[in-house]
């Protein structure tokens, strides 16, 4: 059981990294990774929202959705929107400085497809409550990792002598592609342990 949970965590975090192999959460991935500090904070807020969403999605899937399957998407997105609203109020009360630093990207977590994707994947796979939360933590840490790596690379690349044509967005895509290639290397991780 514990081995399985570790496997779920590592798989969501590294092998099936949400951003780099599922292409989820690309907007903040390209939007806020101009500066390392902002990327780090947004990643942390993401982990929080994802964990709560995973728990709530499990509750909904178990106790509500068997009777109204067509409300699945709407109920998930409402849970996410309310959680984001809650986190927003919490951060504004506890740390106004962080609130200002995150700016528009805080409410935009609502339309971060990684969060809705997480709720859908976790319920599609029929994870229990604990497994769902572990899965959310893994995915959140993976997202944070991708954001931080990308921000560090872009801070370096901003100073590098790069051909004028690929400067800007195109360069970010090439950097992301190389990162994604590197993460494919994790595919063999734990191979012997599971099979």
């Amino acid at each position: 059981m514990r081995g399985e949970l570790i496997w779920i965590f590592a798989s969501a975090c590294l092998i099936n990294n949400f951003t780099l192999t599922y292409f989820l959460g690309l907007c903040p991935f390209f939007g806020v990774t101009g500066r390392l500090a902002t990327a780090l904070r947004l990643g942390l807020a993401n982990i929080f929202v994802m964990t709560i969403t995973a728990g709530a999605a499990w509750l909904l899937e178990r106790f509500v959705l068997p009777w109204v399957p067509y409300l699945r998407l709407i109920s998930f997105i409402l849970v996410i929107a309310s959680t984001v609203q809650f986190v927003e109020m919490l951060i504004r009360k506890t740390s106004p400085a962080l609130f200002r630093a995150l700016g528009i990207y805080l409410p935009l977590i609502t339309t971060n497809c990684a969060i809705l994707g997480l709720a859908l994947f976790a319920t599609n796979r029929g994870y229990g409550l604990l497994a769902s939360v572990i899965y959310a933590l893994g995915a959140g840490v993976g997202l944070l990792l991708a954001l931080v790596l990308m921000a560090s690379l872009r801070e370096e690349a901003a100073l590098a002598p790069v051909p004028r044509l690929v400067r800007g967005t195109a360069l970010s895509f090439f950097v992301a592609g190389i990162l994604s290639l590197a993460f494919m290397g994790f595919a063999g991780l734990f191979h012997g342990v599971v099979e």
Binding site: L73, L116, A170, M184
Partner: protein, 224 residues
């Protein structure tokens, strides 16, 4: 329809295809643009589903624009979009089960495609249904165009085929990486670089033309 309305509707329709292309210029809706474009067929299905949701949501939001209170507008948009996506999801599951299985959760994830919410907030909520329809159709067209371009590049380089038909000779060694996740990033980066190069060439040609005209005017300046 009166002349000016038809004219501006045409303008709203035309801008989405290229000049304000959602993927290549505004860099919106990237998640589906990269996730489902390993083959051209999936890109086409995804484009159709997104177009349906975008056009339907724009019409509804535009028709309700005087009714919805400002404070809850985003929630209303999301609920409208989620309802349409649920319909598409069930329809595809019934009529195109293979494509539905391959696209998986990405059909449901149309809900959080920032392109759709962005058009509601930026355009449909402020304009009459005719213009909103034109804008949504143009943006959906631009989205489909960019998805198909990315899908075609990835399938061609990664497989030597387009839509399952062999295009490159059998001796061509496929770049398997283009079908894998990193290929999505590389294909989009490649396309953006090519566009930047084309734009720069057009700009250079325009500047050379201007310089030639200016030089001709100067040398001809002494003549009466």
């Amino acid at each position: 329809m009166s002349g000016p309305v038809r004219e501006s509707a045409w303008r709203e329709f035309a801008k989405g295809w290229w000049r304000e292309n959602p993927v290549f210029i505004a860099v919106l809706g990237l998640c589906p643009a990269l996730a489902v474009t390993a083959s051209l067929r999936n890109a086409l299905v995804m484009s159709g589903a997104t177009a349906f949701v975008l056009i339907g949501a724009s019409l509804v939001v535009s028709a309700l624009r005087h009714v919805v209170p400002r404070q809850v507008r985003i929630s209303v948009y999301i609920v409208v979009i989620a309802t349409l996506v649920t319909a598409v999801d069930f329809a595809l599951a019934a009529w195109m089960p293979v494509a539905h299985r391959e696209l998986g959760a990405f059909i449901a994830l149309i809900v959080v495609n920032c392109l759709i919410l962005g058009r509601q907030e930026a355009f449909a909520s402020k304009n009459r249904p005719v213009l909103a329809l034109a804008d949504a159709a143009g943006m959906a067209g631009g989205f489909a165009l960019s998805l198909c371009m990315i899908g075609a590049v990835r399938e061609l380089l990664g497989n030597g085929r387009v839509l399952g038909l062999r295009v490159l000779p059998a001796a061509y060694e496929p770049w398997a990486v283009m079908i894998l996740p990193p290929g999505g990033f590389f294909a989009l980066g490649l396309l953006l670089t090519v566009f930047a190069w084309l734009r720069e060439r057009a700009e250079q040609r325009r500047r050379a033309e201007q310089a030639r005209v200016a030089a001709a005017a100067r040398s001809g300046g002494g003549a009466p």
